[in-house]
Symmetry: D2
Subunit: 331 residues, 4 copies
C-alpha cells in the first residue's frame, strides 16, 4: 500500500507524467504553524540542478489544499499537491518494448497486467519522493527539538565526492553513494519492541526510497566482525550516555538517548549514458538499448533530504506513540 | 506494536521468565495441513546446543491451542504456545542496578517506568523469536513452492566459521556474523510500490530480530561503489531472467522472478565473558561488571532460521496481497 | 483517522470552504475502466436541488488526478478531487461565538484547540461525503454483479415522503428519515468472524455519514421482541436460500447468500428555520440563535446514495479479503 | 480479522471445544495494577446460571500468561487464557448434516471449505466473548474515571424482564432483548471525524458480539420522526452540558461531555426448544430439526457486560489517540 504510519499516517500518490503527485498526512496534530514557504528549503535540496543531477527542473511548488487554516494545521488531514509541469510529450512506448534494466518498467508491466502508466516510470518515479519530503517537513516540526541531518558521505566509492561526480560526468556514467543520517538530541524511549522498533520503522521507509540497496545502524556490517567487548557501549552517566556508540543510539529497538546514526547504500542511477544489452520484448531478442535524454549521474546527491524526511516521519509517528504507551524522557 | 502483516498477521507475546512465550497468526487460510511435529525441525535449528551457543536448553515444544482441527487450519486464528521451563530462579535484581551494555535493560526500564519484567530480558528476550519461527513454518507452507534458505556465511569476520567459533570459545569472547538468505523460485509481482516494497517488508522484520545491525539486498553496500552499467541487470529472456542479479531479485520494490538475495549483519552477543566497565545506577559510578552464567558465544549461529522465518512471513503476506491486487505470475 | 479499509483503502480529505475536498483510494485493482463521467450519476443523486434540499449547488465535477491511464485504473492509488466553488465569503465568526446545536461546531473547537477550520463546518461538513460517493462508484465496479440499492423509505415518520417534505418546507422545519439498503445477489462468505463481520464493517461506515443515529440489520430492533422460532430463518435449498430473511442476509458476521438488508436512521437536519436557545460563548448566556441562509429541510433525501456507496466500499474490501482467505461461492 | 483497535489492540482467539479461548491485548500502558481477581466480577456477569441462561457452567478462570509482573502490566502484550473444561464429548456431526437456523454453521462450512471446527459453533461460539470481557476489564482501568454501565432494559418486548423470562422458560422458547449502555462522566473530545467516530467504533464492536441486530445512539431511530427543533440539544453551559441529550453525547463523531447513551438490539437465542423445519444437506430435503440440550432462553441476559466491555475497549483506544492528536478536556 501507499500509506505508512500509525498515528502520523502518510499516503503518497501520483505519477511522473500525470497531472499531479502529492501526499496526504492524516493524524497531524492541530495548531502546528505551516505555510507553503516552509517546504521550499527541503524541496530545493531534493531538486536536480547540481552537477551530476538531471536538468529536468520543475517548479515543484507545494500547494496545501487541505488541513491548514490561518497558517496552522487544523487537525484534519493535510494534503499537499505538486503539479507536474515539465513533462515532455515524447513517446514513451519504447519502454513497453524494451524495458530498461534496473528500472521497474518490466515488473510494473507484469504486476499490473500492462495497465500501469509507464510514462517516465509512472507511479514508480522518483518524483513520488516529493510527497515524502513534504511530509518530512511537517514531521520535523513534530519531532522538534530533534535535529535530523543526512548527508552524502561517499560517492562512487570515494569520500571526495566532487571528484567522483566530475569523473562520472566526464565518462557519461552513473554512480552510487552512501548517505549517513544522524539525529540529535534523541529522547529515550522512541520505538517499540520487535515490529515497531526504531530500526524496523526507519529501515522500512529507507526501502521506500527508490535506488536504496542497504541500511545499517551504528557499527552496522562492521559489527559482524567485532567482539562483544569491542562492540558493547558502556554506559557512563545517569542519562544513558555511552562511551562509544556502536549501537547507533538504539537498544532493543528503542532509542537510548545517544545520537541516532545510520547509513544508507544508494545504487548508481539506473539510467546511464552507456549502451546496454537487454531483451526487446517485441523481437524476443537481446538487443542494444541506449537511453536518451539527460539523467542524474548520481541520484545519491538528491537522496539525503529524502532520508532525513523518512527519518522524521518514523520518529514523529513513534514519538506520538511513545508519549502514549510508555514514558519518553527528554534529554 | 507486537503485530505485523496485513492479511497474514503475526502477533508475538511473552517473556523470558514468565509462564509462556507464543504467537498468534490471524488470516491463515483454512485447510493447510498443520501438526505440532511440523514445527520441530525449524525450532531445533533455533535451539542452542552447538558449540558457541548457550547450554540453556528448553524443550520448546509447540502447543497449538487454537485454529487447528483434524490436522488442518480452520481459518480461525492459530495460536502456538511454548511453556518456559528452564528458567532459573536466580536473582536478576542486579540488572536493575547495573544494566548490561548492549542489552535492552536500561531502555526498557526507562520506557516502561520500571514496570518491565527484567528477568532474563523479559519481553526483549531472544526467546520471543520462537513465535517468529512458528509463524514462519506456516508461512513457508503458504509460500510454497518457494524455497527459502538462510545460512551463516561469515562469523567474526571469517568465512571459516568453525575456526572463528573455536577461537571465540577459547577466548571466552562473543562474536558476530553475516547471514545470507536466498529464496527461489520467486514468482514475479510480490511487493507493492513504496511502503509495502518487498525490501521494506523484509527489512522491517529483519530488525525485529534481536542483534541485527544491517541488511542489504543484492549488491547492497557494494552497489554504492559500482557504475550504472556495471550494476544494471540486463534482461535475457521473456520470463525476466537477468544476466546478473545485482538487484537481488527486486525492482521497484517488486520481485522480478530472479532469486531473492539479501544479507543480514548480526552483532556479537552482548553478553560476553569479559569484564566491562559500566554505570552502576545505585552508586552512580562506572564500575566493573562481570556477566555470569554461560551464554551464546555467537548468537548468529541461531539466526538463520529466524531470518528464513521472517522472510517467509513477509512473502506469505505480500503473496496473499499480490494475488488480490494485481497479477502474480508463477515462474 | 480519515481512512478505512484493509485492501481497498479509502481516505477522505478537505474542508467545506477550503480549496478542495477529495478522496484517495489505495489498493484499487488495475484495469478497471474508469472515467470521470462514471461518477456523475451517483454524484447527482447526492446533490441538493430537490424540494427539501439546500439550493447551494456546486458543480461537483470529479477530477481524477492520479491512478488512471488510458481510461483504466493502473493499480496505483486513485485520487479524485472536487473543487469547492460556491463558497460564499460571508462571515462565519458567529459559529465561534454561538456554536450551533446539533452541529460539530463546539466539539471541533474543543478538540482541536480552536485551530479547526470552522467555515461551513470545515472538515466536518457533509461535503466530505463527495469522496465517499466517488469511492463508492469504484467499489461498485469491484462488487459487480452485486446490485446495491438504497432508498428513503420514511421521512418525518411518514411513508408518504413527498407529503412529509411539503409539510417541512411549509413549516420551515427540518425532518429526519429512514434509509433502507438492499444488495443482491450476494455471494456466500463475505465478512470475517467478529471484528470484520459484514455488519461491523457496514455499521462502522454508516456512522461515518453525518446525521446517522442508528443502524439495524434484517429484523433489527424488532428481533428483540420476537421468539427464536419466529426469528430463525429456515434453510430451504442447497444454495442457502432461507424461508424468511430476518437475519438480513448475514449469519455469524458472514453473508449467507440471501439479500443483504439493513436500515439507517437519519436525524433531522441540525440547521432549522426555527429560533433556538443556546449558549453564547462570548456573553456566557443562553441566547436566541437564528440560523440564516437556506438549508436542507431533509438531509435524508441525499443520504441513500451515500449509504449505497459505503456499502459498496465495505463489500469491495471484504470481497477482496474473502477471495483470499477462505472461499467465496458465487450464487 | 480477529483484531481491533489502533493503540489498544485486542485480538481474540480460540474455539468452543478446543483447548482454550483467549485474548491478547497489545498497547496496554505499563504500570496498571492487574491481577486475576480483577476479572472475576465481570466474568461472573457473563456467566450462565440465572433463570433463562444455559446451565453449561465453566470455571472461566482467567490465566494471565504474559504482560504482567509483580501485579502490574509491564507494557508488553497481555495475554489472558481460559481453558475450556465443560465440553461434552458428544457427537456434533449432525451440525454438518443439518445446519442450525440462525447459527453460523452453514456459512462457516461454506466459507472455510468445511475445514472449520464446527463443534459447539467453534470459533463462532459466544465463548469468544470471554476475551472481550477480559480486555474490557483492562480497558475500564484505562478509561477511569469514566463509569460505563450497561443493563437489559427490555426482554421479549417487555420492560418487566423477569416475567418475560418466566414465560420463555415456561414455553421453552427463546426471546431477545434490548441492552442500554451509558458512560459518564465523559471527557470532551473522544472520537475522530468520520471513520474513527465514537459511534463508528462502538457500532463496529457491537456487531462483533454474536446475536446483535441493531444499534442506536441517543434518540436513535426515534430521531427519524422528530423535527430539527425537537431534536437539537441546546447548549446550556460552558462545559458543553445540553438541555436534552438526543445526541447521546456525541456530535460530529466526537464526545461532547454529556452522557454517552446507546442501545443494542439482541435477537432471541437461535437455539430454541421448538422444532424447526430446515434443510438436511445429506438428504437434500427440508426436515424437522430439534435442538437437544439446554440452552440460554435469553442470551440478552448475558450481553450487558459484553456491551460494557466493548464500549470500554472503544473508549480506551480513542482516549489514547485523542490525548495524542488533539485535546481532551476532562470534565
Amino acid at each position: 500500500m501507499n500509506s505508512t504510519g500509525t498515528l502520523f499516517r502518510v499516503t503518497i500518490f501520483g505519477e511522473s507524467h500525470g497531472p499531479v503527485v502529492g501526499v496526504n498526512i492524516d493524524g497531524c496534530p492541530a495548531g502546528i504553524p505551516l505555510k507553503e514557504e516552509d517546504f521550499l528549503d527541503d524541496l530545493k535540496r531534493r531538486q536536480p540542478g547540481a552537477a551530476g543531477t538531471t536538468p529536468r527542473i520543475e517548479k515543484d511548488y507545494p500547494d496545501i489544499v487541505t488541513g491548514c487554516y490561518n497558517g496552522k494545521t487544523t487537525g484534519a488531514p493535510v494534503t499537499v499537491i505538486f503539479e507536474n509541469q515539465n513533462t515532455k510529450s515524447k513517446d514513451y512506448d519504447h519502454l513497453r518494448k524494451q524495458p530498461r534494466p534496473g528500472h521497474a518498467d518490466w515488473v510494473a508491466m507484469q504486476k499490473f497486467g500492462g495497465h500501469n502508466d509507464h510514462r517516465g516510470g509512472g507511479h514508480f518515479s522518483g518524483r513520488l519522493t516529493l510527497g515524502l519530503v513534504a511530509a518530512g517537513v511537517i514531521a520535523k516540526k513534530i519531532a522538534e527539538p530533534i535535529n535530523i541531518n543526512a548527508r552524502l558521505v561517499e560517492a562512487g566509492g570515494q569520500t571526495d565526492i566532487d571528484s567522483a561526480i566530475d569523473r562520472a560526468v566526464k565518462e557519461d556514467e552513473s554512480i552510487g553513494g552512501i548517505v549517513e543520517c544522524r539525529a540529535s538530541p534523541m529522547p529515550v524511549g522512541i520505538g517499540e519492541p520487535f515490529f515497531d522498533s526504531l530500526e524496523s520503522r526507519i529501515a522500512h521507509l529507507v526501502f521506500a526510497i527508490p535506488a536504496t540497496k542497504g541500511v545499517e545502524f551504528g557499527s552496522g556490517f562492521s559489527a559482524s566482525k567485532m567482539t562483544g567487548s569491542e562492540h558493547n557501549d558502556n554506559i557512563l552517566s545517569i542519562d544513558g550516555k555511552t562511551e562509544t556508540n556502536h549501537a547507533g543510539g538504539i537498544n532493543g529497538g528503542i532509542s537510548n538517548g545517544n545520537d541516532l546514526v545510520f547509513r544508507v547504500a544508494v545504487k548508481p542511477t539506473s539510467s546511464t549514458g552507456k549502451t546496454q544489452n537487454t531483451l526487446n520484448l517485441e523481437t524476443g531478442k537481446v538487443q542494444e538499448l541506449t537511453i536518451g535524454g539527460r539523467h542524474d549521474k548520481c541520484i545519491a546527491l538528491r537522496v539525503p533530504v529524502v532520508v532525513e524526511s523518512i527519518t522524521a516521519i518514523a520518529i514523529a509517528d513513534l514519538l506520538l506513540q511513545a508519549q502514549q504507551r510508555g514514558r519518553v524522557k527528554k534529554n
